[in-house]
Amino acid sequence: MEKVRVLSARFDLPDSHTIEVYLRTGGYQALRKALAEMTPEAVIEEVKRSALRGRGGAGFSTGMKWSFVPKDSSKPKYVIANADESEPGTCKDRVLMEKDPHAVIEGILLAAYAVQAHLAFIYIRGEYWYLKERLEYAIEEARAHGFVGANILGSGFSCDIIVHPGAGAYICGEETALMESLEGKRGYPRIKPPFPAVVGLYGCPTVINNVETLASVPPIILNGGDWFRRLGTEKSGGTRLFAVSGHVARPGVYELPMGYSMKRMIEEDCGGIRGGKRLKAVIPGGSSAPILTAEEVEQCTLDFESLLALKSMLGSGAIIVMDEDTDIAQVVYRITKFYEHESCGWCVPCREGTRWMRKLLERLLRGEGRPKDVDLLYELARNIFGTTHCPLGDAAAWAVYPAIEKFRADFEKYVRAAAVSVSAEPSDVPGARRLLVV
């Protein structure tokens, strides 16, 4: 498979974040083309043809999402770039905004043109304060060149962009919680339906896309949707940025075509497992995706369909690689702690379930586990899955129960250790259950 650099093409150029470099390397040509030659509908059609799917995690077709925005609505429409990149292991948007902010801005403008929005927001993760400054600087550069603001390039189309920082909540990466936060409220996910395309920010039709998704749009408009789709697979078009972390020799952000072999990526691109160890497991899509065993990695390709077949997901494209020395129970504990900390508290299964799982794992790892605890943990995760208000609860469950299915021994070793040391505890005697713990 040929490795084409689409998103990362400018990453190695000096001063790649400046508008001069961007313009010199074909920047804003797509915007020029769209405004001069294409109708908004044509832009949407081109994006549909590209088989571009959301790079934030859910992998929904971008063109479809844009086409859901009602054309006859009398309300204003908005575009939001979701730059609240907080999925553990994910750092691709950061590189993109750092190295090529204008690609993001051009993508936002194209999306705004496609749905006829005149105001766009970049909701950026609070910890990325330095990128906020870079983006704002880039927006001013673009404004000075007539790409942002009123009557862009004399086309009559106007659009402004506002950068707004989050305040450190993972949940605000969820699109409706993000909108609540942007509106100045507590970041709770909204009840869906209605979906943001119809009722979004301030109750108006809103397109919300991941930064990388939007940055993929200018090359699509410039080179055509078919070109983009052919870079990847039939259903997962194009290339994408993979943030590889963990026990590989060369962790980092890699641009690879969709459908690329995961094994090849680990062994060739990332230089294999650090210290010549054996691969044990991979979490393929940020901490929210179910874990894969080394055997599963063998047959896995980097596209939405392949991972779906393995009952996992490509998510945000964050690949966490773990070698043979890794204790999966510890990994699950760390991830569960994260989800407990980040649960918004809205719904019962996520709020109470993540806390319960964390406490159970804590006890297990302390060596106080009992034989039934692994099963209980498994059941808790199953009970959370599919019953929560938003996908955060599902993610918390996905981090746990597939890990137990695939690496049960890692959990049970703590139980066995415990069986010796605390078997005489009164709470282990049948009938002596503590029902009331205050």
């Binding site: 909540a169 507590r186 009840i191 407990e340 900390h341 980040e342 649960s343 918004c344 508290g345 809205w346 719904c347 019962v348 299964p349 996520c350 709020r351 109470e352 379930g353 993540t354 806390r355 319960w356 406490k359 159970l360 006890r363 209980l376 009970n383 599919g386 019953t387 929560t388 208000h389 709470s427 259950r433 503590r434 029902l435 009331l436 713990v437 205050v438």
Partner: protein
């Protein structure tokens, strides 16, 4: 209305399109367990108890957010759903303290019920619980965060019902805690306690009820509130002869099995319906202001002035003394020297008997009641029927409020206004001299000069007067034209009349409705925002003579018969001297008030919690009050006292020893009350009296306009608009004759109440 067919558990059901699935299932006889769903509040989908399976949908769906559409196939009971519900109860109980034996909610707790019905037998949570203590959010409301299941009902109720926006969430995830709106997490609000009412568990509790009773050892009595004229229904819970709480929860709206098996089983009078005009709403006074009936300051025996001091006496002595003195004064100075003044807080029965006593036995024309605003011209010229609260909420798309401050003085009206906007998108226009803080749901707000309400009525009545009105009100001509259009083009209009206006402006308010209806097919209803619980009843019962001025006492009036009215407090200190000039002052009272102190005879009367009777609210609806308490003092109903005095004077008032008999007579003699009986009131709850409406032709409108113009001319045209809204609690937090005897209110608001006067024994 468009209907759709859905299949629930194999049964085909027809339902209005877009109705919540949970409600459709409930109506179809498939109740779905839930915590966070609450009728008319925005859906929350937080508790996940209502998960159901809908065909063609990937995962279980929450019935409380799903709206029915054609052909929906729903399963509400299955192994999968049972397991999901069990899991939710398991999660909720995980960190719950399970302190049911000491929890106030124990016995009527929704979580207990859910745990019993949908939970597992054994709790599987074996970890350390995160314990938190309980603490007060306000002098009235306590929070135990560990019991809280975060259903957000309290927050939504605070936002939607009372617009206090006083509750929110602090912290995240499992550390989410309900907090108040002050920086320290306590509450700055009107303390209505509706959040406590809707709390499904024991997380929010009321200070006055905490640790004072268990649900199974209280007895509830449905009665009518004794404060404002809106006439809320409430349940008084009594334990050991003391009122321990007032509440208004609609038990019939809950899972029928839960309500019947658990909540009704330990109550003597199960309710089969809850068609209350206030739905489930109560205000601060209605909820926390009833414990004056328990007060140790209550008068328990008659007091008779001997040697200048009030001393305890027997009923026989007191009654005989009163009868004898009245006869003497009547004989000496003539019947016109005696005046009877009732209180608009008393029951129709009491007031009717007082009026009858005054007219037939004393034969005096001075039979009246203590009024704050003289509403007589309004009711005399009424041209359209009065507006009830349910009509206001459900049937009035256009609403105009002129004057008044409903959130403070008529809280139920404020609730209904909000409900009309939230439920049906009603357009609410407010005309007021002061911004009204807690009616932000209003569509438009017209800020006028203080005291210029008559000019608004003038402009509404006559287009030619817009110029004059603009000058008087500080509104622009366009704004006044907009108001006129709003009123004159409405199909269904509710007119709410505040207490700021008097005389011709009140008449205008009464006449405008008739003029609008005469112009075309439309429905207009009017709601006068009267002050007291039985202000209208007092007018109906014929206590309509001109109110006395203190100067009349002495030269003209020799004897005052006061029934429950504290003239000194109500009308000021001028009455102190007036009472001193009278030869006889008889006072029926609950407490030794400033007026009663100066009386010659003080007769201990019964409070609303000890009586049977009726009140008539500002919509003209008659509602029952019912005896909730046993006898704890030697007190008697007001009507009985008068009946006995009359008997001593050789007259028979025909009371025949029961309020029901008196009401029968009221129904026979008072216009509009025909056909109303206690039995019907028990059955129907509130029955609206038919008011005589004045035909438009009879009214001399030219003359009315002339007088109204004169009233407008008299407005102080230099006054500036009041920019600040009235402070929170201007009406609710003020001590009154009854509320100042409620310990909780006294402490909470730091009322400096005079110590009760020691009575020698």
């Amino acid at each position: 209305m468009e209907t759709v067919k859905v299949i629930i558990n194999g049964k085909e059901v027809e339902a209005p399109k877009g109705k919540l699935l949970l409600e459709v299932c409930f109506d179809a006889g498939f109740p779905i367990p839930n915590f966070c769903y609450y009728k008319d509040l925005p859906p929350q989908a937080a508790c996940r108890m209502c998960l159901v399976r809908i065909e063609k949908m990937g995962r279980l769906q929450t019935a409380c957010t799903m709206r029915v559409s054609e052909g929906m196939v729903v399963t509400t009971e299955s192994e999968e759903i049972r397991r999901a519900r069990m899991a939710m109860v398991d999660f909720i109980l995980a960190n719950h303290p399970l302190d049911c034996p000491v929890c106030d909610k124990g016995g009527e707790c929704e979580l207990q019920w859910m745990a019993m019905n949908y939970g597992d037998l054994l709790a599987r949570f074996d970890e350390q619980k995160d314990a938190t203590g309980e603490y007060p959010l306000s002098p009235f409301i306590w929070l135990d965060p560990q019991r809280c299941i975060l259903c957000y009902r309290c927050i939504r109720v605070c936002d939607e019902w009372v617009e206090n926006h006083a509750l929110g969430v602090r912290g995240r995830g499992a550390h989410s805690v309900i907090v108040g709106n002050r920086p320290d997490g306590t509450l700055a609000c009107e303390h209505c306690g509706n959040c406590v009412e809707v709390c499904p568990v024991g997380a929010l509790t009321s200070t006055n009820f905490r640790f004072r009773a268990r649900p199974w050892d209280i007895r509830d009595t449905v009665t009518t509130c004794t404060y404002c004229s809106d006439g809320c229904q409430l349940r008084l819970s009594v334990r050991d002869g003391r009122v321990v709480r007032a509440w208004a929860k609609d038990l019939t709206k809950m899972d029928a099995e839960f309500a019947n098996k658990v909540l009704f089983s330990f109550r003597t009078a199960p309710e089969t319906r809850h068609n209350w005009i206030n739905e489930e709403f109560l205000c601060l006074k209605g909820r926390y202001g009833n414990e004056f009936v328990n007060s140790p300051d209550r008068l328990r025996v008659p007091l008779l002035r001997r040697n200048g001091r009030l001393e305890p006496a027997t009923w026989e002595e007191a009654l005989k003394y009163v009868a004898q003195r009245i006869l003497e004064i009547k004989r000496t100075y003539g019947p016109e020297s005696i005046a009877c003044i009732g209180s608009p807080r008393l029951t129709n029965e009491d007031l009717y008997v007082l009026a009858k006593f005054g007219r037939q036995v004393l034969e005096t024309p001075h039979v009246t009641h203590a009024m704050d605003v003289d509403w007589r011209p309004f009711f005399k010229r009424l041209t359209v029927p009065l507006l009830t609260q349910p009509e206001l909420r459900e049937q009035m798309p256009t609403i105009l409020l002129i004057g008044g401050n409903p959130p403070e003085y008529n809280p139920l009206t404020a609730y209904s206004l909000r409900a009309a906007v939230h439920r049906h998108g009603a357009r609410l226009y407010i005309v007021s001299a002061r911004p009204i803080g807690r009616l932000q749901v209003a569509t438009r707000f017209f800020h006028i000069r203080p005291g210029s309400e008559p000019a608004v009525w003038l402009a509404l009545l006559d287009e030619g007067e817009v110029e004059r009105a603009a000058e008087a009100t500080l509104l622009t001509r366009e704004e006044l034209y907009e108001l006129r259009r709003f009123v004159w083009e409405a199909d269904r209009l509710a007119l709410l009349v505040g207490r700021e206006v008097t005389g011709p402006a009140l008449e205008a308010a009464a006449v405008l409705g008739g003029m609008l209806q005469a112009k075309g097919e439309r429905i207009v209803r009017v709601l006068p925002l009267l002050r007291f619980n039985n202000s209208l009843g007092a007018l109906d019962m014929g206590l309509v003579a001109e109110m006395l001025v203190p100067e009349q006492v002495g030269p003209q009036i020799k004897a005052l018969y006061l029934m429950g009215c504290d003239l000194v407090r109500f009308y000021g200190d001028a009455w102190r001297q007036a009472l001193a000039r009278a030869e006889l002052v008889v006072a029926h009272e609950l407490f030794l008030t400033r007026t009663a102190e100066l009386a010659h005879v003080v007769l201990p009367a019964m409070s609303f919690a000890e009586l049977d009777g009726t009140f008539t609210n500002n919509a003209g609806q008659v509602q029952r009050i019912r005896r909730a308490l046993g006898v704890a003092g030697d007190w008697r109903p007001d009507w009985m006292i008068i009946d006995q005095i009359a008997a001593k004077m050789g007259a028979d008032l025909g009371c025949r020893h029961s309020a029901a008999n008196i009401f029968r007579e009221i129904a026979e003699t008072i216009p509009g009350y025909q056909g109303i009986t206690y039995a019907r009131l028990n059955e129907e709850g509130a029955i609206q009296t038919e008011r005589p409406l004045m035909p438009l032709e009879v009214i001399d409108r030219a003359r009315l306009l002339e007088r109204l113009r004169a009233q407008v001319e008299a407005i102080d045209h230099t006054a500036e608009r009041l920019q600040e809204p009235a402070p929170l609690g201007i009406g609710l937090f003020e001590p009154g004759t009854l509320t100042e005897h409620v310990p909780l209110l006294r402490q909470a608001f730091g009322w400096d109440v005079r110590e009760s006067v020691e009575v020698s024994r």
